[in-house]
Symmetry: none
Subunit: 200 residues, 4 copies
DNA sequence: AATGAATGAGATTTCATTCAT
DNA sequence: TATGAATGAAATCTCATTCAT
């Protein structure tokens, strides 16, 4: 990238980051360009020097959040030992209820709402890319498990199902009132593990 | 219900049904009250004799679609024999790709988008009610399977996980570009069935 | 009046009276024809058998209230002795703060608001008629005072001014936040009485 | 005020002033935002850069009219000599019938109609402020009269009563068909002056 | 005489985006 | 490069009144 482009990229981040708090208050969709400009301390017109349109702003915000989440996930996965531990980290987004994580979760919820509502190919593609990233991570977890002799070989066939199950957990947590995510997870994963764990 | 109320209820349905096609063209959220009135062949003001507000119209449309889908599901479940057959019927919404079913699926997608985006407690509650209905159906399928000696007793513990998995399938189909729903389903369900099927 | 007309007149009153409470809650202007019909226990269309239009309903309501107030005023004036006593009764509408009187006052306020806002000749004429009625009453009070030797002859020239002053008191009470009506009245009337009272 | 703010203030005035004629034709309440925008030669959306809402536009219009009237009043009062002359100037709004003054009078009428009709605390408070301004002016007139030896000391006690009387004159002129404002004023004020004027 | 279903004109307000400076 | 004033399309909802039954 040219130095020019790099600078632009930096400014995009800066602007997007400046409205993090605002977004958690009123939501991505409800934010106005005027608000973004004000909170970023620049003019409304200037926004359009760095972003194509409003959607592009939202895109950048989502991007930052997800990149951050992914980075944290990768780091924590590296420190984990057992397969089950890793799996729990992998499900952290839907299981953990501390403030930090809830922010990520709600951001993801808003992101999904956009993907579902609009015919927005760019967002959809972005979603696919991220999915592949996550799939690769999950696959790695299982492969490591197999290599370490923790899991049966056949367990690799479950990766996609578990990925799907994770999406389902997210959706249910997002759309149901008193959904007990943890209990649903525990029951299901325990059962699955019975199936795929190698008896030593 | 008084005859009065019944008539109102009928008219609501009639109006809501009249815009089925329009909805599939432009989406529930994008519809305008003026359009609904025109297509229903009545005045704009008349709409408000039967609906509280625009949201109420969308609500009725969703309701009709879901009720219809549920009715069909129940009927087809009654005719099915094996547990696996029933399970496939239960997953029909996300698996089948004929026009009729795609309409239901897209309706469900729009519905979810609304549930996720707005602070719309009514929709959310409605979603919860329907979820319970579906959970009951799935549980029944498994209980019948156990009773008929097809499934292990412990398989009942998987009901909630599978329900969640179904949501995940829906979400992935909605939000990913070339997601192979059927293959994901087959792989996962086959594996699960290995676990829970009684060897005869 | 023909018996038919009399019956119509009675029904008008009945309908108008039925919404007295509602009016005090939400105001004459804010009432809807549907509400009037419901509270009167008749159909919306039936309203138009007895009233020309919505304005006509309001007109009837105002009429009833003012007639009632006038009747009470005349009765109480007959029982009063001294001129000053009578004058206080004459100012009762703006001075007294009990619930009953406040209802009349607020009704009058709404009435004035209508007279001022619309170019409503009928209301305006009605207002003039009532004004003449009140002027006659006030004049009578003063004439009696003169005849009884309480007041100077010239005091009759003040009748119109005092009538005007009373309107001013009403307007200020209606439009100012902490207007001390009683104190304004006392100070003014005392001063006036010094001027017009005959020393005995 | 920042230059920013000053410009906004100026533009508010400019927009409000541009619809003066329109208002006299159709009334403040009947004006639409679209009409204001058109007559001001700007877009509908631009209106909302300078005004909170429609009420705010009306508010500005009233403000301008009243400020203008007050300024003229203060100027003319300075030029007047005798107390009676000043008093006549003070009553000018209700007495004079030239076009210029009638516009102010009708503006005041519309303003009062709003104050009486709506639960509009802002307008009511504004009314109170202006009332205090006028009361101060009237008091000054009387104090000067006393100081110059034209009026008795006690006449100061009449200030509030006369202010009230003036409101009454306004209200009657607004709400009665053939009310003879001048005659009512002359008769009343002459009588009052007999009471309060010092014989020299 | 009584009804109440149907009507539709009409007005406010928001906000992403442009463009002249 | 930065700005922010100007834009205007677009959509909801109310309610007095009519009229067929």
């Amino acid at each position: 990238m040219s130095p020019r482009k790099v600078k632009k990229e930096e400014k995009r981040r800066e602007i997007a980051l400046s409205c993090t708090d605002l977004i958690h208050e009123i939501g991505m969709k409800n934010i106005t360009v005027a608000q973004v400009a004000k909170i970023a301390g620049i003019g409304k017109g200037t926004i359009y020097e760095y972003f194509e349109n409003k959607e592009d702003i939202i895109f950048e915000i989502i991007n930052i959040h997800i990149e951050k989440y992914n980075k944290d996930l990768v780091e924590s996965l590296e420190k984990a030992n057992s397969t089950k531990e890793k799996l729990e980290l992998f499900f952290k987004l839907v299981l953990e209820d501390d403030e930090e994580n809830l922010k990520h979760f709600n951001g993801y919820k808003e992101f999904l709402s956009i993907v579902l509502s609009e015919e927005n190919p760019r967002m959809k593609e972005f979603n696919c890319n991220k999915n592949e990233f996550f799939r690769a991570k999950l696959l790695k977890i299982f492969e490591d498990g197999v290599q370490k002799g923790e899991l049966k070989n056949e367990s690799l066939a479950l990766v996609d199902g578990i990925l799907t199950y994770q999406k389902g957990l997210a959706l249910r947590k997002m759309s149901q009132n008193n959904f007990d995510t943890k209990q649903n997870f525990k029951q299901f994963i325990d059962a699955i593990f019975k199936l795929i764990r190698l008896e030593k």
